[in-house]
Symmetry: C3
Subunit: 242 residues, 3 copies
Amino acid sequence: MNSADGVSTKDKPQAREPAPRVAPLEVHASAPALGWYSDTVHFGEIWERPILDKRQRSIVTVAALIARSHYAQLTGHFNRALKHGLTPTEVVEVVTHLAFYAGWPCAISAVRVMQEVFNSHQILAETVNQSLSRVGLAAEPSDADPDGLAPRCAALDEYTDRLVDGDLWKRTELLPKCRSLATIACLVAQGEVEMLRKEAVRGMQNGLSADELYEAGLHLAFYVGWAKAERAVSVFRRAAIS
Amino acid sequence: MNSADGVSTKDKPQAREPAPRVAPLEVHASAPALGWYSDTVHFGEIWERPILDKRQRSIVTVAALIARSHYAQLTGHFNRALKHGLTPTEVVEVVTHLAFYAGWPCAISAVRVMQEVFNSHQILAETVNQSLSRVGLAAEPSDADPDGLAPRCAALDEYTDRLVDGDLWKRTELLPKCRSLATIACLVAQGEVEMLRKEAVRGMQNGLSADELYEAGLHLAFYVGWAKAERAVSVFRRAAIS
Amino acid sequence: MNSADGVSTKDKPQAREPAPRVAPLEVHASAPALGWYSDTVHFGEIWERPILDKRQRSIVTVAALIARSHYAQLTGHFNRALKHGLTPTEVVEVVTHLAFYAGWPCAISAVRVMQEVFNSHQILAETVNQSLSRVGLAAEPSDADPDGLAPRCAALDEYTDRLVDGDLWKRTELLPKCRSLATIACLVAQGEVEMLRKEAVRGMQNGLSADELYEAGLHLAFYVGWAKAERAVSVFRRAAIS
C-alpha cells in the first residue's frame, strides 16, 4: 500500500532495507531519528513525488536556501541543481532574480558559493550566457514624469514597474514559469503572504498548475518549517479558487 | 526595593558591585553599555526570574537560536543546556523536533554544533537514547485513501497528521510540555502568529501555565527582538482567556 | 532625461562609460547582470538619491544587515558608515540599540565585526564615548508595584516602559531621529508591521519626514527584498496620512 499524497510504507523500520544515506554521516551518528526522517521521508519520499520534477524542486530549494542564508546547504544543492539539469546560465539567473526578492546581501553571498561549485565542475565564466546587452534596457524611465515631480511615496512603485517587472522579469535567461517558482519559494521562506498571493496568480499565468503550487508548499515545509508552509498552502487555496 | 516583574535595583551603576561577567570580554571592551545590559539585565535578572526554571529557559533559548541560525551563540547555549540538566537525549530530540518547525537546514547545521559540544563533554553516541525502533511507526498511511486520490491540496495536511502530530509528537524522548516550549519558542522567533495561537493552546494542554507562556515571551524579547515578543505576548493573552 | 524617482538613463548599456566597480569582482565575473544592477542601479543610483543623505543610508543599511545577520556585508558597511561621518560612538550605540530590537545574538555577533573594523582604523576603545554613568538609571522600578504583584502578562510591558523607552531611548549617544531610523530599518527587515506602524509615528515625532520614510523603504528594498519594502511603504502611507 502506497499513497501518493501520504507517507509511504516502504522503508519502514519493521522491514527496512539498507536505505541510501543522503543526510550527512554525522547526522546519522548524532541524531539517528533525524537521519531516518531525512533519508526515508525527506529525500526518499518528498523529493521523489512526481508532481514537481527534480529540476523544479531544485529551483524551489535553492531559492529558499538563498532567501534564508543557508549557505552550508547551498553548496550541495547547487550541485544537485546542475545534476538535475539546470544550466549554469539558469543558476546564475536564479541568483540574480533573488537579489530583488531576497535582498542583495543574500544574492551576493550566494554568488560566492555558486562560484566555488562552478569551479569544482570546471564551468568557465564564458559558458554562462548571461548577456549584458539586454540588461537595463527595459528600465528606461517613462515620459510620464520627466521632471521627477512624482510623489516620493510612489518611488518604490516606479522601480517595481520599470526595474523588476519591466526589466528583470523580461530577461530570457530563465523561463517565466521557473522565475515564478523561485519567486514563490522565496516569498514562502520569508513568510510574505501578501506578495505571495499576487505571485501565485502570476505563477499560474506563467503555467504553474494549482497542484504544482501545493506541491511546492509541501516541499518547502521541509526547508522553511511547517508554519510557513501551512500559511503558503492556505494562500494557494484561495488563489486557485479565484 | 525589588520588583519580581520589573527591573531590579541591585547592581545599579550608582552602587555597583563587581558583576559577574557573562557577556564576552570583547563586548565589555567595545560596547560597555551593551555589556552592562547583558550582565545586569539579560543574564543577571531575566535568566534568574523564577517563573521558568533554567532548564526551561535553555529549551526556549536553544530553540530560538536554531530557528534563527545563530550558530555562534549555540555552542555556549548547548553547554548551558547540559549544565541546566537537559540530558543529551533531550538535546538531540529538541534538534530533531525543530527540523520540522524551523526547517531541515536549521536542524542539520545545529547537529554539527551539537556534536562538537558533545565531543567536548566526551558524550558518546551510545549514551544518546534516541531509539529508531519507534520512528515512523505512527506514520502509517491510513486506509482512507489507498489509491492516492486525495486532492493535492491536502497533501501537507496528511503529512501534518501522520508525520508531525502522529509520529514526531508521540516520541517519548522529550516530554510534551518541553516539546511545546521548543515549538512555541521557534514560532515566536519566526513571527508565525497563526500557528503560535494553536501551539499555545496545545502547550497549555501539555501543562504550560499562562504565566509560563508570558515569561517565555519576556525571555524571548532578548533573543529575537522586542517586536516578535510583543506580538507573542498578545497571542498568549488571547489564548489564556479562551 | 533623468527622473529623480525613477531609473536614470545615464550609465545605460547602450552608451556606458566604465562604471566604478562597487560590487565585488567575483560578482562581475560570475553574474554580470547582477554586477550591473549592483553598480549602476543599487550603488550608482539608489545610494545617490538626495532625500536621505549617506550618513542616514548607512544607519539604515547597518541596522538591516544586523537584523538579518548578514555579517559578510557588515564589514564593508561599517567602513562606509565611518566614511559617511558616523562617529565610533554612534556606531557602537546603533549596535547597542539593536540588541533590543533585533535580539541579543544579532548584536553580540555584530560587535565582533565592529571591533575588527575599529581595529583596522586604529580606533581605540577610549575614543568611544559610551558612558556607563547613565546606563540603567532610568530603569528604576516605579513604586507602583513594590511587591511584584503585577500580573505576569504585564512583565514585558514593564520592561518596555522602563528599560527600552525609559532607558535605552533616553541615551544621548545617538540622536532620537537616528535611533528611529535604525529601529525602523530593523522592523522593516523583520517584517514586523505592527510595531513598524508605531515606530513610524515616533520617527515622525523625532523629526523624520514622510519623504524620508518612503525613501528608507525604497533603500531597504535592495537590502531585505521587495516584499518587505512594499509592506513597509504601505505602512508609511497610512502613518503619514494620520
